[in-house]
Symmetry: none
Subunit: 201 residues, 4 copies
Amino acid sequence: MRKQRDGEDTKQRVLSAAQELFAAKGFSGTSLQKIALRCGISDGLILHHFQSKKNLYRQVLENLAEQYTQVLVQAKEASATPQEMMQQTLTASFNFWKQDSTYQRISLWAYLEGQTEFAEKEAYLTAGLAQAVKQLQVQGLIDNRFSPAVLLTLVIGPIHFWLRYREQFRAALNLIETSDELDQLFLGQLIQLVMELSAKT
Amino acid sequence: MRKQRDGEDTKQRVLSAAQELFAAKGFSGTSLQKIALRCGISDGLILHHFQSKKNLYRQVLENLAEQYTQVLVQAKEASATPQEMMQQTLTASFNFWKQDSTYQRISLWAYLEGQTEFAEKEAYLTAGLAQAVKQLQVQGLIDNRFSPAVLLTLVIGPIHFWLRYREQFRAALNLIETSDELDQLFLGQLIQLVMELSAKT
Amino acid sequence: MRKQRDGEDTKQRVLSAAQELFAAKGFSGTSLQKIALRCGISDGLILHHFQSKKNLYRQVLENLAEQYTQVLVQAKEASATPQEMMQQTLTASFNFWKQDSTYQRISLWAYLEGQTEFAEKEAYLTAGLAQAVKQLQVQGLIDNRFSPAVLLTLVIGPIHFWLRYREQFRAALNLIETSDELDQLFLGQLIQLVMELSAKT
Amino acid sequence: MRKQRDGEDTKQRVLSAAQELFAAKGFSGTSLQKIALRCGISDGLILHHFQSKKNLYRQVLENLAEQYTQVLVQAKEASATPQEMMQQTLTASFNFWKQDSTYQRISLWAYLEGQTEFAEKEAYLTAGLAQAVKQLQVQGLIDNRFSPAVLLTLVIGPIHFWLRYREQFRAALNLIETSDELDQLFLGQLIQLVMELSAKT
DNA sequence: TATGAATGAGGGTTCATTCAT
DNA sequence: GATGAATGAACCCTCATTCAT
């Protein structure tokens, strides 16, 4: 392998490899050497570009947070009515988390390892959603039986749980549907639930 | 302090310290030396009793899984009707997870670190619950609008989510209730939801 | 080489090797690996015994400071009159610094590298001497033409300088005496000077 | 700020920054990267101009030696009588060393680090002074109680010592004079001493 | 002249594990 | 059962140096 001298490209490759490995093994379980090996570069070069392992991690987290933010923003912009927005947001989030488990896993690692910046960003997004829900309740567009925080919890909690355990359900309950089919089923029932929960009684 | 020559006591102290540290820092973030330090014993002694770090971890996980199993069993035994059983199970689980975050955190670590034995035990328990739900549906005791796996997800998912994010909700939404009050509120609304979801329409 | 299991002996060997190497190359110029190599042990073992490189250095410095203190104390105790004490102190210091250059060099390294603890210990000893001189002046036993600090400087300064440059003097001035003869000559003239400086006029 | 394409200016800035840092941290304690950072230039540029770190160090040392030589030469040229020359030399040396501690520190580093070229240059200068003293003794202009090497040692040794320890004296002896006042006092007493030592008895 | 990408060696430190005592 | 000496591998990071641009 001949030395390439494209720093920007190298940075991107490092970020990508780092994201994968951090998702798989967490921060302290991932060594710079392994990242370097996967990129075919030397250890030192990573630090040349990112100053420290911690900083590299931070950048990975920021990238992910940014991506998720985009997903939420787009879902919002593509919606006309409150109901549509809720559906869009749900579906978009579900698909984003589902695509690969990277975001979900990194989010968990960051939580466990005390990477508070990331948790805070997440909390900020979630709080934003809660505010939106509250708004809708105040405007009388959706029912206010449940407090916004609880309502959100009742909706997002299951998504996390589902993505983590669905395979084990399949095995334990001898389900014959494919994962995708189950996902569709779940998402459909979840949206139905949301509609019920938010419907004015 | 008589610290010498009581192997069983030493093992217990190690297990207890290990559980704390593994919960806080995960497997690769916890060193045997730190555990030994916290127990006030020498480095080598841990391996004398537990053969390897991995094995110690396994025992910690087994202990926790056993505790949770007990909680579920007791909840079941203490219930007369299906409805009561569901309520009992929910409340008991919630309180078990809530008491301290140890179980929740270790469960997450084990999941992320691919400690499959533990995840499997958890899945086994969850699947057991799903079976029970299915049973109730077959017997016509509860509604079968939702598939058992989904129903369970709609119930347990929020609990996990709530315990992880409630503090951030409190901060973001400027809630004035105490954590305990919020927990009561949440649990009440959750149980109400479960009743709705399982009620024959 | 068979593993020996005598920790105390190992510590001593490490301290001794470290003192040599720190004297030769300073703190940042000496690696734990080189110390370990010289002792025929592994890197890690040094840290097992001394926790950190910095701490090892500190212990080396403490040992040396302690030795010098002893030398001064003994010189003092072995003297009856003020004049004798001054002579004894001078001679003892000179011989201590002369024996090998370790103390002198380490003292300089510590100064340059900002190892303030050591410099402070040295300053404490020197200040003690200055106090003693002052005492003698107050009691009228020696002349007070010079302030104590200056007097001490006029005496100890030359010793440092001499030990550092005498070889270069020998070369530059084509002196034929041996180093030891020159040392005797120097010390004799220095003591003569001190007597003159402290003699009541 | 035009920083580009002026090689000579860049070299000067590097030399200046390097001198500061080498004085503060010594050779192995100073990295090229830090020097580059302080100059606001890129890593590689230093080596482009100076080939190697060692070589850069050598140039810094040469510059300093040259400066000191100039000081001595000027002191000599500005003097009419032997007595005046000795006073001038003393005062000029003292002030040169005193201005900032750079020279003193670098000289010590070079000595400890075995940078023999520098030590030799210094020794050469000192030997030159010794020769001059010898000359004066032979000509009968000053007393020859003390050998030239010893005489020089009795004079220059205290200067070094004083500049290194005066602050600690101030602290330990609770002196109230400013540093400059103490310096004047010291220098005055030292010159007085020199006059005594060199006066024909 | 100047930048900065890239390497490779080495440094301090942590740590699971082994083993003599 | 218990201690702690000892190892060796791995880890993050620093740094002089090389070199494409």
